[in-house]
Subunit: 190 residues, 2 copies
């Protein structure tokens, strides 16, 4: 999506350790109009899939997932990173290995909110090694629901997560697919 | 706002320990149409205040703050609960005492995203003892910006946080103000 690639060119900052900082519009400060455009693009890409629910993971996925849910007119559910004492019901659990934060954490979704028959579009801000997407897909399968696809804002294609998910037969659509990225050479898109 | 009171009546569940569980539409699963209505209501209430930015706190505030930002046409910033290594810049810091989760945690906002001259509307899903709002207000003041008001979805008025913030001279608008709540007696609104 040219709009997203342009925004990354304009405002993204490449940092040490393969970090792409886009926190001025995507995952700390959020640009609601841009995120609405992303939501519309996900709707255009997946509108024939009979999506019943959008699933994401806290916190930075919530903004774009919210705008996507608004465009689809379906509920959005976000997986929580720790068990809090205001969830009563049984939960589905899965594990994410975060390379950015260098730790492993558990995510949960209340069993009330994913049901057999649900057709789930998984949405997230980043796809790198794929750990978060794989954990979300695992939750959906455990619930007996179907993943109709994954909508990602920025995919670091060279990190291989997208290939893993696509090799599972799951459709992945990324609004900006980065082929190469370096401090010196900047960003090349696929 | 009758719509929110009705939704709480329909779907809210009162739990032990003064917990009001609204995670089927507000803070785990989110209803985008309802949240859009909330965003519109905040816009109606604060549209004359020259709001330049919406500020909230991860994770459950992001959905409603996003829809409010969309209606206002201004950026949304969410305070993060821990320092992650993909924030490079200096940050404003403040401390929140969470009674729900029985712990104290630090919140941060990158100094890039709140500036002197900003007119900030603070938005959150819940207001109880006020610790989260007070921490957000403190961040805004530290940045030399102005809090034009707080927009809250559900205020537990009997917990006193709303009074503390209003006594500071800050306008607080809550879409549902709970006067009393108990397992036996249910919910009474102000």
């Amino acid at each position: 999506m040219k709009l997203v690639e342009d925004k990354i060119r304009e405002l993204g900052k490449i940092g040490e350790g393969d970090v792409l900082k886009v926190d001025s519009f995507l995952n700390h400060q959020m640009d609601p109009m841009l995120l609405a455009n992303m939501g519309e693009e996900f709707f255009r890409l997946f509108e024939k899939e009979g999506v019943t629910k959008i699933l994401t993971i806290e916190a930075s996925g919530i903004g774009v997932a919210m705008m996507a849910a608004y465009k689809f007119g379906v509920p959005m559910v976000f997986a929580k990173k720790t068990k809090t004492n205001n969830i009563f019901a049984d939960v589905y659990r899965s594990t994410v290995e975060s390379y950015t934060h260098k730790k492993t954490y558990e995510i949960i979704v209340s069993k009330e909110f994913i049901n057999p028959g649900d057709r789930i579009l998984v949405v997230d801000d980043f796809l790198a090694k794929g750990s978060a997407l794989l954990a979300l897909i695992s939750l959906v399968k455990e619930a007996g629901a179907e993943v109709v696809g994954c909508g990602v804002v920025i995919e670091k294609a060279y990190q291989g997560g997208g290939k893993i998910v696509r090799d599972m037969g799951i459709r992945v659509e990324s609004l900006a697919r980065i082929k190469e990225m370096s401090l010196e050479g900047g960003i090349t898109y696929c």
